[in-house]
Symmetry: D2
Subunit: 365 residues, 4 copies
């Protein structure tokens, strides 16, 4: 069962609420002997953490990670801290919990938010900061992703925001180096400048806006993915769709492929190096029949606008009475921005899992 | 692990290759006491089976299903055949296996197909008709879906083809009754007529074309879906992405949501009946925070064009030598058409699973 | 979930009832490229099949296995039939279903049998031959076990009956070759002769008797087993306990270890070959901390006497009325006998699973 | 996969090493709305914690549990802290880590211990206090068990030590009230007095001794357990076998059943109350065909003597050189004693899981 776990051989279970004591995860199945320091995990967390620009929530969380288990600094191996093959528990304590900000949504349901459905399901809801449905949960994913990267050292995973609201980046100006140079993880400097102004407007309106994120994994060996129901693309789709506010996922050409003819969509091949074919195109996004082809794995997903906005919306309360609701508190005007490091983490976790699964069934590396 | 299984409490494991002895599935976890006859499963299979019009593969397969286990016609309950709570094995024997048609792809890789990746993964490949990667595997899903529908009698699941190649249906003419009246499962009679001519052209060109399918579930109770990694939408995304040739999945507004502002995307609520709110819109496609809201669950997915085409394509063979490849054999010019009943089956399986999962954790009906 | 599946990477799902159409299993996760013929599976099934001596049920079942999927006789590899990495479905059709024999237990519960509990759980019960609770289900396990042995060619797995009723074999006379030379799988020829007379008496009394089975795996590499909840011994305990009528499982010295002092129980070590220590004893039965030590893995389990006997027993019927019940039909006077090949199969499946799991997490072989 | 998780719908994942920062668990799938306070979990932990008498390890650990997530004290429900249906993370920080005590086993393998097999598997081993293989891990189980008890309020679970070394209790003097009145959890006051002297001798010898524990669940409804591979007894066998040092498990009469005849072993039935039969005996230990019968569920397991003893034993070191080894440090002379609360916790977790699973498939309560 998978209420709060994902992956099989590289298996991550997360826990924690937005305003609870702590959040974190247990990474089970990580191979032994990998060097792992809290600082490395912290570096990834710092990319996601809130309050780094005016374009993300102003909540101040250091998001300081502690490794509780699963590593050992053995003096026999030079004192380097290594994974031991036992479960790695990671914990991030919550510190900046201004719970009173949320008292007004205690009894009412934010439209477009999970408030109503959690109550409908469980009959009880930790309403402080959205509880378990808060984007804070994704900090645990980023931490797990940092461990996953250790398992797949030959694979490079990078993500970028490629559309904000209706405004897509210009792919002819794509530069991975730009991604870390603007507060939007945008690979196109010019569009990033435009976003600055655009999102300021959204923010001042008390509104929010959606986004599209693209994540690319290079150096993925052919053969990952287990048909039929453990297909690499099926697992990636689930992984990305499980991120808060995601409403669509596509691989390679995605929805555009529906409009193509067979001869356009076929990624032709020529003789390549080391016995591997060279693909002349990558419409498939690196996955054929659910199995990686050796080409870059390309995934895109759509993030809806944050539901917590200052514009009054019609809603109901717990008793079913009609209310007009404004969500104060500290929110991301474009929650898609901080989804960028989360996307990388999910890609890393899925690939780590499939590397181990492949090794398990077929052997090798 | 989930190489060939999906679902948890309503768990389906499929087996079989295109030209093997038989294909089928084991449905584990079906509740006891549900009336189930082979004829009911057959009716669903007949909607998917090949050779029903000139627009699908001309392979002639009766796709006759046999129930091997898990049901019992008890004379104490009037002789009706009921599920017993034990695993339901369903088998469809293959009959029309013209394997020689495929001898030319024995050693070469169809571009855009799983041929290369299966070989890369397993080092061996049942090349007859695509083996396990054939769309024939989806017959087992449709059979399982017919069982799943029994578990969720109050939920209506319907699917339609809403785009073929670049040509979308006109939603203002949407009529569910039309879906069964044309060979495309198209809900818009006028566009269906157009498709007839359009697809004839594609077929005569020896080409193929992609499609978009939409599947809608009505009557879904609020509360299904288990955050964070058993979200209903994450499971639906994986289920649809696991169908052959699917490259993108979206829920509700999907990718279009990225372009919206928060106030547009928020599905406002007013007081409804029986304590449940009434939603004024359904941008969310019936799922909020991974949990069903009670609104119709709406999923769309993109199917790429069939890779097996008559136009010669550049490729390589097993030894890495360059070849030009034509795929003869009997293929669907638009494999998306027969994905329509498959989509319904996957929706039924996922919802049946989540109904049981919800009951397991939270109780009730 | 695991209603009807066991194992993780080498995963077996069984289906079928005693008097249904067929029974069988799907083996998912078997590595590709292993030579596998139906005859090899049949050879294992023939050891378990009923009606081979007067000491087992007189039901005549050829137990003929068909491979439905997952193998391919590739002319490129000399036409040998190999596994392909896809699910291997195995089917055994039922032929000798004298269902009317069971009409008298349709409405009454055999004491000590699963009749009452199945009805209590599911509200419906396929009473013909015990339905799913019949020992016939173990044929599917034996078939799966034959596949599992292919995955672990270096490991020798053998089982024997070591106690019938209160009569244990004399271990000083243990001879594995004897096991196939008497109808009891008994490793001690002298005790086997005694059993012949003893069990004849039991059978003529219309009674039944319990047994203890021991299964030994030699050549198990050190390192199999995944603490804490995937311990090799925990998985073996579950596997053996899942066999019909089993009431106890022990590893190595088992219950006798409770009476030992620490210095008696410690399996001391001396320098061995190839870097591996040599153990001076094997009280632990080849498993320490849930992980194999390289010593023979030794498991014993107790089988209770068959519940279907000719001696009248007090019971109740479905309506709760009191009845006296005799079970006619064709039964094993010592169901433990046919558990011997089942024990080997379960050991093979568990070890195959753990070999793949180890490879998945830690790499190697 | 289940390296470090057990259960399906009530799913527990544990983490932590003996001398790491902390140990704990994540309980996933707990139903919402159950009152849960840290004090209740603490009460169970206090029964297991070390250093309470001279008969257990002298390590001083407060074993103070913190609830990190999954509960919410809602002022709308009177401020009682309730489970919310989200994962419950429990953490116990390690405080008394005298790691230097273990420096002598850094490079050598204690005979009978997991030292060698961990190294053989992972190539690295947290040798401090046995790392992950330490009995300290069972604290996390006891914590999870306290949560599980909340899920099954109508079921009474009690365990007792019934044999120490070769000395069994006198069942005619069985008194559950005695269990909490002696340091051995012994239900027979007279034998408890004897144990005091007996174990003192063992302890002074620097030796250790094994034990047998019995755990009984009363009030278990009929119908729990999912044949064939989710049988209640199979899950209980795995659960108990996963406890450190356990070498055998039996249900009801267990191994003694092998010596019985069918008419002795059959638990006869008479008309009972409320439609349920009344059983005249419980040889089966409350489980028939893998499903609970409504009778008390009775499980016994054997614990081997602690491997860490002061008597020198022959062993090898990491390099394979021969050594004589004494294990100093603080150890339990009879590790079976503290297994008593652990046994109750495992029984509670398995039953909670099966209650939810039954509800999921079959419905009801």
């Amino acid at each position: 069962m998978s209420h709060n776990s994902f992956g099989h051989l590289f298996r991550v279970t997360t826990f924690g609420e937005s305003h609870g004591v702590a959040l974190g995860c247990v990474v089970d199945g990580c191979p032994p002997g990998l060097a792992l320091e809290a600082e490395e995990i912290q570096a990834e967390l710092d990319r996601r953490k809130p309050g780094q620009s005016r374009f993300t929530t102003q909540r101040r969380e250091p998001d300081q990670v502690k490794i509780l288990s699963g590593v050992f600094a053995d003096d026999r191996t030079g004192g380097r801290q290594l994974t031991t093959g036992t479960p790695i528990a990671l914990m991030i304590e919550n510190t900046d919990q201004r719970s009173k900000d949320y008292s007004d949504i205690r009894d009412s349901y934010r439209p477009g938010h999970a408030d109503y459905t959690y109550d409908a399901k469980y009959g009880i809801r930790d309403y402080r900061g959205g509880g378990r449905s808060s984007a804070r949960e994704t900090a645990a994913r980023v931490a797990a992703g940092a461990v996953a990267r250790k398992v797949i050292p030959g694979i490079t995973i990078r993500a970028a925001l490629v559309q904000m609201g209706p405004h897509a980046v210009d792919r002819s100006r794509w530069d991975w180096d730009q991604v870390e140079r603007n507060p939007f993880f945008c690979p196109d400097a010019e569009t990033a400048s435009f976003y600055e102004e655009y999102l300021d407007g959204i923010r001042k309106d008390g509104s929010s806006v959606g986004a599209v994120i693209e994540v690319v994994a290079e150096g993925v060996p052919p053969g990952l993915g287990a048909p039929i129901y453990g297909k690499l693309d099926a697992d990636l789709a689930a992984a990305m769709m499980s991120i808060n506010a995601v409403k669509g996922v596509e691989i390679g050409d995605g929805f555009a492929a529906a409009a193509l003819r067979g001869e356009e969509n076929a990624d032709e091949m020529r003789a390549g190096n080391g016995g591997r074919p060279r693909f002349l195109a990558n419409h498939a996004g690196g996955i054929l029949g659910g199995i990686s082809s050796g080409e870059p794995v390309v995934v895109r997903f759509a993030v809806k606008p944050t539901s917590s906005i200052l514009t009054p919306r019609q809603s109901v309360d717990r008793q079913g009475a009609e209310v007009d609701l404004i969500t104060k508190g500290r929110h991301d005007p474009c929650v898609g921005i901080r989804a960028v490091p989360v996307a990388e983490a999910m890609m890393a976790c899925v690939l780590a899992d499939h590397v181990l699964r492949h090794r398990g069934q077929v052997g090798g590396g």
